[in-house]
Structure formats: structure tokens, C-alpha cells
Symmetry: C2
Subunit: 266 residues, 2 copies
Amino acid sequence: MATGRTHRPATRSRGIPEATVARLPLYLRALTALSERSVPTVSSEELAAAAGVNSAKLRKDFSYLGSYGTRGVGYDVEYLVYQISRELGLTQDWPVVIVGIGNLGAALANYGGFASRGFRVAALIDADPAMAGKPVAGLPVRHTDELESIIRDNGVSIGVIATPAGAAQQVCDRLVAHGVTSILNFAPTVLSVPEGVDVRKVDLSIELQILAFHEQRKAGEESAAPADLAAAGATAADAAASPAARAGADGGRKGPDGDVPAVMPA
Amino acid sequence: MATGRTHRPATRSRGIPEATVARLPLYLRALTALSERSVPTVSSEELAAAAGVNSAKLRKDFSYLGSYGTRGVGYDVEYLVYQISRELGLTQDWPVVIVGIGNLGAALANYGGFASRGFRVAALIDADPAMAGKPVAGLPVRHTDELESIIRDNGVSIGVIATPAGAAQQVCDRLVAHGVTSILNFAPTVLSVPEGVDVRKVDLSIELQILAFHEQRKAGEESAAPADLAAAGATAADAAASPAARAGADGGRKGPDGDVPAVMPA
DNA sequence: CCATCTTTGTGCACGCGTTCACAAAGACAT
DNA sequence: ATGTCTTTGTGAACGCGTGCACAAAGATGG
């Protein structure tokens, strides 16, 4: 998956491990799908498969919530949907503001996954006066000046930052100053916030870089096994000394079948 | 931050822990910023602060890469930028395709963070014939039919899926069939892929749900402290012993305002 | 050349998360 | 009722990641 964790250090909430909390939405989605197909019950095995996790892990996760589930039968889908929703706080309405209505901000505003989960986009905010009033996803873009009143009037406690990196900290500070205590940050910056404020970060380029790392490793292992050994043996000092030598090493990519690729694409 | 990890189980790549790999892009960004300001060296303390992590952790992370750094001085910025870039595979060009050019796909196509990191958008692909040829972010949208040739001709090994959930698995299968071995998935679905293919997932609504969980907890702690203590006191054993008792027990749960949920749904 | 001071690199301990494996709980059939 | 069969809930072991704390390395000054 794709996220990092600029998170609370180690404060486990109630008794529920952070890792479990992060999986609850996953289970919820799978359960919702089952619910729509009117499936009455699921076993941990089935549900785990649908959510893409280990069944033992799933059972343990649920055990933190309590003993829902019947031995020999499985879990009642509807009941579990309700319990998880409640645990995640989705039974209530969460007004959110999106700040920074560029390409990404607009895409977020249009994203359907929010509304369907109890999140209501209370306002779209942008610093550019030219944007003010322009309708995006059915809502008029408001100017940053209105930020405070918007937060106050709507009781907003969750903010989404989709501004350029340079503006993010400033926007963050203003959000926090006016009462926002949870922030979802799409700007590629480390935000510093006071104690008690949660920040989660989504960084698109980081995800790609992680994939690139593994991709490189795959390519290297396959085609250049000896070269790889050499690289492993020769400590970084060597490799650094001659970047050219390295550039030549990762040429071979695996095709869909076993065909051995020729040279690297220029 | 914002991602999950539908990842390789436990196979640590080379000797570098997965957690470390995930932080390297963070360090790289901070270092790049320093580099642009022509700062020659940084201490682990300074860099750690800039990247938002613990300095001990940072030093340990770097120790996996090798012994770059001079005691009493710190790390050479330029050198470290190079080393990390190389380790992440960013010294080479990674052509990527983006499939599904809706709001999100278009936003991704326009996202500057890719190009600046060695990622090149080789093509934008959409299933809608009406989209074909339309320019997005300076590139003409191509139709799904061309998927295979695009991947082949460009040597694409990384694919980004930004389609609706329903189409994601199918797109994924086609990508994989034609040689893509790393996928960044924005569709809210669990993708199943063969061994050897890496999937990372970015799920916007999941991030919000996690924030909502903590937000709820914060609100609850404040207003319903005693109820919270009671819940903490009763160990799982109690609750497990009698599901009925439990159902009743969590009646007094912290709502934002203290509303008590009724009974369980049938 | 020696002393001092800074900063790295890492051994070690601890805690969280994952997984195995199984006993207990309940459904269902006889 | 009793027995069988399924599936949960969890105790226990293990491994990874984190953070402390310190020894070693090197710079710097005398």
C-alpha cells in the first residue's frame, strides 16, 4: 500500500493496536460488499481472503473489538458492519475541508469514496482569488480568508491539505489554530504540529520510489546475478567511484514469459 | 501517512529492512532541499529533524547502506543524495503508464513529483473511446487496446491504476500479463497478483477513516472519561464470557456528544 | 603528538505485530 | 442427549523495528 506514518508515537488508542485500526477500513469495505450481496454470514477465512489478509490476523483484530462471531458459523455481516463502523466513528458525520484546489484537490473533491463513508466535504478552499466562486464538484471554491469561519460554522475537525509544498505548513498552522485536530497531508513536506494533532501523509512520489527500489532489485537479481554479487562484495565506496560501471548493470528486464530481454531501453 | 502494505511478506531485500526503504525517499527529499541551498554537510540530528524522524533511527537506516558519513562532522549532502538515489534506483529512467484517466488519473498525470524523480509518464490509458486522443498533461490519451504495445515499446515495468474499483483487477491482470511487475493501485480494491509482482495501495478513504477513529477517541476522552475507564477496566475475558453482557456494556460509548446507540441490528 | 570535543555507527533491550496451533464453543445430525 | 464437525478466540513463540546509550572514529586546537 501506499502510506507512511507521521503518526502518534506509540500511544495505543484504548486497547486497539494501531495496525489493527489501519485494517478495519479494509474489513469494512469487504463486509459492505458482502452486505450488498445479501450474504448473511462469513467465516474468518472467507473474509480474510476478500480483504487480502491472513485469517488468524483477522480474528485477532476482531478480538480487540470484542467477541462478535459464532463458533462453527462465522460472523454476522450486518452486525459486524455496524460494529466496525461504530468503532471507526463512521456512524457520525465528519465535515472536512479541502485546502488547495489544484488538480489533486479537485480530484479529491470529486472522489466518491468520501461521501459514502460519513465524510462530508464542507468546503473547498483555495488561496487564489481567481478560483473563488468557481464551482468544483458542485461546490463553490471559497477563499482562504474564510477559512476560520468555515471551520467554526461547520465544526470541522478534519482538514485535507492538497496545496503545493511551500504553502502546506502555513495552511496547516491556520487549520490547527482554528480547531482542526486531524490532517491528511498530500503535500510533499513534513508538517510540524502541536501535541494532540494527528497527521497522516500520502505521498505519491514516495510510493513510486519504493516500487522502483524493489523493481531494481528484481531486475538485478535476475539478469545480473554475478554482477550483483560483485556489487554486494564491493562496498559502496567502489560503486560510487565508478557510477558508469553501475549504469550498465541493470539492463536485463524480464518479459512476461521467460524471454530474456536484450539490452536496456536507452 | 497514507498507505497500506499489500506487500511482499517478509522477504527483506538485500539486507535493507522494508521500513528503512520506506524512509529513504523522505531523507532524499530533505537532502535535495539542503543540496539546493548548497549546504555541504549535515549531522544526523539536523537531517533527522528535517525528515521528521528520530536521529538514531536515521543513523541506523544509513548504516544499512554503508558507512557514509564522517564522525565529528556529519554526512556529505551531495554524496548522500547520490547514494540514496542509486539505492532507490532513481539514477535510471522509469517509464510508467497511468491507466484510468478520470479526475484522479488526470491529477496524477499532472503531478510534478514524478518527473523530478526519474519517473517518466510513458502513456495515459483509458478505456473510454471518447477520451482517446484527448490531451491530458500534454499527452494524448491512448485507448486500452494499445496497452500491450505501449508497455512493450517503452519497456514499462511500473503501472499506476486509477480506474474505478470494478475495472481494477482486470486492468491489473492485463498489465501483469504484458510485463508490468510493480503496481501502484489507487482503486479501492484488493488486487490479486502472481508471485513476484509488487503492489502498493493508496486509499484515500482509508486514511480518512483512520483519522476519524482517532478523532473520535479524542472527542470521547474529553467528554466521557469515566466511561472510558470502565471499558478499560473490564478485561477481554469478561466481555468474551458473555456477549450479551458486552452488548449492553458498550452502550455508554463516547459519541461526540454522548448519544447512546440502541441495540444491535437484528 | 596529545587532549578534547563532536558525531557517527552499533550492541542491546524492549515492545509491537504476526503467525502458529489448539482448546473451547457452538451448530447440526442422529 | 450425545457425538461429530466447524470455526472462533487466544496463549505463546518469534521476528522486526525502535530507541537508548556508549564506544570508537575522526576533526580540531594547542
